[in-house]
Symmetry: C2
Subunit: 357 residues, 2 copies
């Protein structure tokens, strides 16, 4: 039997290597924007769905079938490890993670025991195993970065001003550090188990880190994210470090030991490249809103992003943030086709220019 030709474009680009074709996947490519997802998802808690490996694998595969994206991302949630060790967290539809008893004192540390992935999140391991048997593209594992997970645990839910989190960082830094330490271990355990089960790349989501100044982020958050990338280095898989509104933190986030940095839509790829000195691959940058505007605009904006990506070595096309639920799947499909075609042209031109010099 001839082995299936593996599509490793995402892995190569995420190692900051130039690829002939620009690979593409979308954050939240699986989920509410897909009718086939809504058809099988049911109305229970997302945390219940995640505990069903067959269903989770099917949901993860839907965007691969529909779009021909170059990577599958595990269908899961960043709060799964905290949930699995019994911290007491739910995901409320339309609202996000909600904690009935927020983390506020040293006593709460007891609620975060170590994660034993084989026992606590066997369903995640099984989903990863089911998926990697099926696909010829990389499977992206993921975890929430300690700060972003901490913000949910401390605030008790999504927040606008992060009052309790910042208060703890500044008035009880010892407790905050203890929490970050525990959450780092949760992320390391969870990601290790995903990689050991077959994920060939992972993304660390520090979605809300941008609310901190570089000084505070550098002193109190970056060391933990760095420790995660460091602990997982032995697996020799590429890694993506992502946040929204992190224009203030790009240099520090790129310096975390990740191999690729996720870029939102609030800064140009050329600017992000200049500020990170090309030392990591870049991913992202198309405003998710562009998917809603109408195909002409969507394609024009995608073309601009691809053109600005020409300065990068490794580049993975993606949105600057997750797919908005009201997105039309046909538009996303058109973007994938366009990226594969025009991205190849752009890369060829960049190579020719480099040779001419």
């Amino acid at each position: 039997m001839i082995p299936i030709q593996k599509n490793n474009l995402v892995l190569e680009a995420a190692k900051n290597q130039s690829t002939d074709t620009v690979p593409v996947w979308f954050m939240r490519q699986a989920g509410r924007s897909l009718p086939e997802y809504r058809a099988i998802r049911g109305s229970g808690s997302i945390l219940d769905t995640i505990q069903n490996p067959d269903l989770s694998a099917e949901i993860s595969l839907q965007p691969l079938r529909r779009y021909g994206v170059d990577a599958v991302i595990l269908y899961s949630d960043i709060v799964v490890p905290a949930y699995a060790v019994g911290f007491g967290i739910e995901v409320v539809p339309g609202r996000g993670p909600v904690v009935s008893q927020p983390f506020r004192s040293e006593n709460d540390l007891k609620r975060l025991r170590q994660l034993e992935p084989e026992a606590d999140t066997e369903y995640v391991v099984k989903t990863v195993q089911l998926l990697t048997k099926e696909i010829d593209v990389p499977l992206i594992g993921f975890a929430g970065a300690p700060f972003t997970v901490a913000s949910y645990l401390i605030e008790g839910g999504p927040s606008k001003s992060y009052v309790y989190t910042k208060s703890m960082m500044r008035s009880n830094p010892k407790l905050f550090h203890q929490l970050m330490e525990k959450l780092s271990h949760l992320a390391i355990s969870s990601l290790s188990s995903q990689i050991e089960a077959g994920a060939s790349i992972y993304q660390l989501f520090d979605s809300w880190a941008g609310v901190l100044s570089p000084r505070e982020y550098g002193a109190m958050v970056a060391p933990y994210s760095k420790a995660i990338f460091e602990a997982l280095r032995k697996y020799n898989v590429p890694s993506i470090h992502f946040g929204v509104g992190t224009s203030n933190l790009l240099e520090i986030m790129a310096d975390s030991g990740c191999s690729t940095l996720g870029i939102d839509d609030r800064i140009g790829l050329d600017q992000a490249y200049a500020r990170t000195n090309g030392k990591v691959g870049l991913q992202g940058n198309l405003d998710p809103v562009n998917i809603l505007i109408g195909t002409d605009t969507t394609i024009a904006e995608s073309a601009r992003v691809l053109e600005e990506s020409a300065v990068c070595d490794g580049y993975i096309f993606n949105l600057g943030h997750g797919v908005l639920p009201e997105s039309n799947p046909d538009t996303l499909a058109a973007v994938v086709d366009f990226v594969h075609q025009y991205g190849t042209d752009i890369r060829r031109q960049a190579r020719n220019r480099a040779q001419d010099k």
Copy 2:
């Protein structure tokens, strides 16, 4: 009769001149955090309160009496001009500006006639006149910048993803430019009337501009803000340009013709100074959350901000965003005293260091 010694520290600092004492005021210093405000405000719409000059003047004065801040800001709202020309906008407590029929097509341009401040917003002019008769500190006038006001008119209320605004910018730029043009004129008319009535400085609030990339902000928003600063130059009063989460835009915002740039808490003053080359004064930077933490932390964080401000010529102490409603007025009072004392020390040390060189 000996004339009252005018306290012009805010004006000097806002012109990017070094001052012996660091001046201080707080965005949203008047309002819900003050018990004396809650006592007189009543429960009607804020837009009704604003139409009562005696009440608005009294509310504006409350923080001056309580804190001894170095400036009074007019009690008003950024949607007042659009409201006054009959666009159809309300301010809903706990939610913000709400538009029943959002701005979506060319027809809606008709709903934005020119502002005639003496007739349409006579109450604003009267409040300014009442205030400037009473105070020996500068009165800060203000307006919403065209983009931030446009985002409310187009979205119909506060937004997370600015879908309709960005869609219009990209798929119907002509209409967006027409709207921005109209909103620029509203801002210019309103600010002119405030200055003519006695405001000696003004702040342009582009609170949400940071959701745009530098490319898009520079092309589609900055020209309008620039036009406002340009049109008001004849009055020869200093001006402050403010946004939240605008680390991505600092250079362009500083280049708008403003004399001072407002800095949120997501970037250090030293970094902001370096990026703007010292060509404008700086204002702000203390995280509003710090007011809630407990006086020791609040003062320590204020000290750090003051120390980082030593690189600036003109610097006005302020928060990075508005006072949170749950803030304790005693803490704000302690910050004002501390800034006046420690800011003077910091300035003296900076001068001595400069002389030693």
